[in-house]
């Protein structure tokens, strides 16, 4: 599959001290009615790498936030070196030698690496930038975490930023380092480097806890594995006890994962599509009625069948604080999914903004449904146009303070308006139907956007975008942070939508790209490294390298 699995297994021998560094005893944590952690017992030994495995929402992050002092447990206690400790804040945890590398880095972009690493540990009241750089350089050399101490954090790659976070902990003499899904933002190569650094730290006696839901990397790096399900530790074992991924998956899910399950999905998982579910209430289709192709001034109907729904040629745009986009060209026709594959921060965001008409082009052109991008956004057909499923569900796709009807209307408002007035009653009916058919929870249309979980919000957004019968869809990491069931549902809906539209799938997840796309375009530093069909085995093999920027060789 990816570069990760090529690695041969060479887990370092455990340090093997008798007493664990940290022991969690009977930790429980509740958020209102929700049981995030329940009676968890866990011990962490010196020089060991422990993987905490579980699906989304299993309570891994909560547990580790408790250990790092960000959250306080409702019950249970933390024992460090045989001594009961109470952490009221991250500071207490730091003092006990426990630190965490969060998934969303807590760094100050406008300041230097040295400032970030030494914040709070400067040593003296008066500080000297030169000496601070020196200290950080020494530390980074010691652990092989290469990064320029004078560089501004904002200009660093995600991998480098992660190194800064690790250096922060090492500078504080942390003995227990917690990593929350550390590879999510890394290229395969960067992930390899991280694993090397983790092993080196373990060899020096540090304990490492590593949260993940990716099976191959857990097998590759860990000495011990603990599995969390629904807030409880359901299994504890050493790496040697599991022979392969299938066995690990079985233990994680508590059921067998069929081979190739991620691709062959039946339509029956879609709640709305089962006949029994339709019941007595009015369906979305009935409420919306037939949506004829919109007529556009000047050109009559837009787009003939065979033309591409989205085409970019020679698109360049520069951005102040990022890599920008350099000479990107591709076209997507109806019935195709093109995956734009790359690690976050390689120009995908800028490209999508350009397609959405929010970023000017330096040169080149974008055409949506046969119209230049500016012209398209000026007329914005109410349906049959472009649907957009953003990555940032709360920041870009929804209004947290507004209710679900308003959030539904956000992009579909033109379907419900006449003479500048909204038909709110019909919108309410349609929202109810959508909630039912897409199984959005809680099912109250008066609920605020912020009250929905990420997965449910995504269901609403996907439903809303597909409702407009888009002929071109942009989906940005549509399944990020979703659990397996929700992910399968979103994938299935996109596959169905492909029948009537062309889809640009922007993703950083190789398996998602391979599961959905017909064509792959790997993007690195704002350039398309290569564009090829998923059938092209040779190139698919090299995806990992391409994502790290090495151009594909011909043949």
């Amino acid at each position: 599959m990816s570069a990760i699995s090529q690695h041969t297994n060479s887990a370092p021998q455990p340090g093997g001290s008798a007493q664990p560094v940290v022991r969690l005893e009977g930790i429980s944590k509740f958020f209102g009615q929700v049981r995030a952690n329940y009676d968890i017992h866990l011990s962490i030994g010196a020089g060991r790498i422990k993987a905490l495995l579980g699906e989304n929402g299993a309570g891994k992050s909560t547990l580790m936030s408790i250990l790092a002092g960000r959250l306080q447990p409702d019950f249970g206690r933390i024992v460090v070196d045989g001594e009961h400790r109470v952490f009221r804040s991250p500071k207490d945890a730091h003092l006990a030698g426990i630190g965490m590398v969060y998934q969303h880095f807590m760094l100050i972009d406008s300041m230097s690496v040295a400032d970030n690493v030494l914040l709070g540990h400067e040593g003296s009241f008066r500080i000297s930038p030169a000496k601070m750089r020196e200290r950080v350089a020494k530390l980074s050399a010691e652990y092989g975490l290469e990064v320029d101490p004078a560089a501004r954090v904002g200009s660093l790659s995600m991998g480098e930023r992660q190194r800064v976070e690790i250096l922060k902990l090492l500078c504080r003499q942390s003995r227990v380092l917690i990593f929350d899904e550390p590879t999510a933002v890394l290229t395969p190569t960067e992930a390899e480097q991280l694993f090397k650094a983790m092993r080196r730290m373990a060899e020096q006696g540090k304990s490492i806890v590593f949260i993940s839901h990716k099976l191959p990397e857990v097998l590759e790096i860990s000495d011990e594995i603990s599995i969390l399900r629904r807030g409880e530790v359901v299994d504890n074992f050493v790496r040697a006890q599991v022979p392969d991924e299938a066995e690990l998956a079985r233990r994680m899910l508590g059921r067998d994962l069929r081979k190739g399950d991620d691709i062959a999905l039946s339509a029956e998982i879609l709640p709305g599509s089962s006949a029994s579910d339709a019941g007595t209430a009015q369906g979305l289709k009935e409420i919306m009625g037939e949506l004829p192709l919109p007529k556009i001034k000047g050109r009559g109907k837009f787009l003939a069948q065979s033309e591409p729904v989205l085409s970019l040629s020679g698109v360049r745009c520069s951005a102040q604080d990022s890599v920008g986009v350099h000479d990107v060209s591709f076209a997507i026709a109806k019935g195709q999914i093109l995956a734009l594959l790359g690690v976050a921060g390689n120009g995908q965001k800028e490209l999508v903004e350009a397609i959405c008409g929010l970023r000017g082009l330096d040169s080149g052109s974008i055409s949506i449904l046969d119209h230049p991008v500016d012209e398209y956004w000026k007329m914005q057909p109410p349906h049959g146009g472009l649907g957009y499923i953003p990555e940032d569900r709360r920041g870009v796709a929804s209004c947290p303070d507004l209710d679900l009807v308003d959030n539904f209307l956000l992009t579909t408002r033109k379907l419900f308006s006449r003479y500048g007035l909204l038909d709110r009653k019909r919108a309410m009916r349609a929202t109810k139907a959508l909630i039912r058919e897409h199984n959005v929870l809680p099912g109250n249309p008066k609920a605020k956007g912020s009250e929905l979980s990420g997965g449910n919000l995504q269901k609403l957004i996907v439903g809303r975008e597909l409702l407009r019968n888009p002929r071109c869809i942009i989906a940005e990491n549509p399944t990020q942070g979703l659990d397996v069931a929700a992910m399968e549902e979103v994938w299935q809906r996109l596959r169905i939508a492909k029948e009537s539209s062309g889809i640009l799938l922007v993703t950083g997840d190789v398996s998602e790209a391979l599961a959905l796309a017909d064509y792959l375009a790997v993007i690195y530093r704002g350039k398309i490294v290569d564009l090829f069909s998923v059938e092209d085995r040779a190139k698919v093999e090299r995806i990992g390298l391409m994502m790290a920027g090495s151009a594909s060789l011909a043949g």
Binding site: K91, L107, D109, G120, E122, R126
Partner: protein, 311 residues
């Protein structure tokens, strides 16, 4: 009048006037800058200056000591800052609304309490020439023939620069303005940092108000601050949140204003109503100039956001 000579001759007195009229705005700008660098947007500068202005006047009026008056002004404005801190840092109120309320309250209360003292005079700070330096041609008259508060103001920007860039506290303060969560994770309380910045900045703003009562006017009149607080807020943006640029911005601002007033005195037909508008037009111009470099460049990333409680 012919030739350029008269227009050149008035440059030096205009610049000298710029330094003395700019001092009040300079203190206020630097005060606001300290608060904003820590991430607290305080739009109450106008009200804080008014209160500081009245307190310094009363302090000096009753004791006869301008230095005591200055202290009163600073402390009173710190008190106003503390209200802002209580509303925003503790009670989670909107920083914008709190600042506006502070301005309404401060301007109102100072005018109300000051009514009995209108046209009353105080000793205030007298001008004196700095030995040796004041006799330097050009620079002498511009910078060294003023009062003690002007000379004091020369030391503040380098001190602030040192505080920001070369001390542990400064690093924490700047970091708090950018990303308070990172600061918290580093074991420092962002709320404590913001409180301290509010106090320090508040004192400086109060000194700006005090300058008006104790050095510029040396008596009490209604609405003494008249928009200078807002000019200070605009100049912080123009300065891209850097103390050095703030000095440049303030003197540029007051310099142009003072020069045009003197040009009018030469008999050039500038309508006086235009001159009355000038500070406000200049403020717009200053904002315009800073926006040309791009939206909010240099603004602390977390400016105006409240810290989440209980985390």
């Amino acid at each position: 009048m012919d030739g350029f000579l008269p227009y050149l001759l008035i440059i030096i007195p205009a610049l000298a006037a710029a330094v003395s009229t700019g001092t009040s705005i300079l203190y206020a700008t630097l005060g606001e800058l300290v608060m904003e660098r820590a991430g607290v947007l305080n739009l109450g500068v106008e009200g804080m200056m008014m209160v500081g202005c009245l307190a310094s006047f009363l302090g000096c009026y009753h004791t006869g000591s301008p230095w005591f008056g200055l202290l009163c002004g600073g402390v009173a404005a710190m008190g106003m800052s503390a209200i802002h801190g209580a509303v925003c840092l503790f009670f989670q109120g909107s920083q914008v609304v709190s600042g506006l309320a502070l301005t309404l309250f401060g301007v109102g209360v100072a005018n109300y309490l000051g009514t009995p003292y209108i046209q009353q005079k105080v000793v205030g700070f007298a001008s004196f020439n700095v030995p040796v330096l004041s006799s330097i041609p050009v620079l002498g008259p511009i910078f060294f023939q003023h009062d003690a508060m002007v000379y004091l103001s020369f030391f503040i920007p380098p001190l602030l620069w040192f505080l920001f860039m070369r001390t542990r506290y400064g690093l924490a303060l700047r970091s708090t303005g950018e990303n308070p969560e990172a600061v918290r994770a580093a074991g420092i309380s962002p709320s404590a940092v913001r409180w301290s910045a509010l106090m320090l900045g508040g004192f400086l703003v109060g000194m700006g108000g005090a300058y008006l009562a104790l050095a510029s006017m040396r008596m009490w009149v209604d609405n003494l601050v008249s928009g200078r607080g807002w000019i200070a807020v605009a100049l912080v943006i123009f300065a891209f949140w850097r103390p050095g640029r703030a000095v440049f911005g303030v003197y540029l601002f007051t310099g142009v204003t003072a020069y045009l007033f003197r040009v009018q005195a030469l008999g050039v037909g500038i309508p006086s109503s235009f001159l009355n508008m000038l500070p406000y037009l200049m403020t717009l111009a200053v904002l315009f100039a800073s926006s040309l470099k791009g939206r909010g460049s240099g603004a602390p990333a977390d400016l105006g956001n409240n810290l989440k409680p209980g985390s």
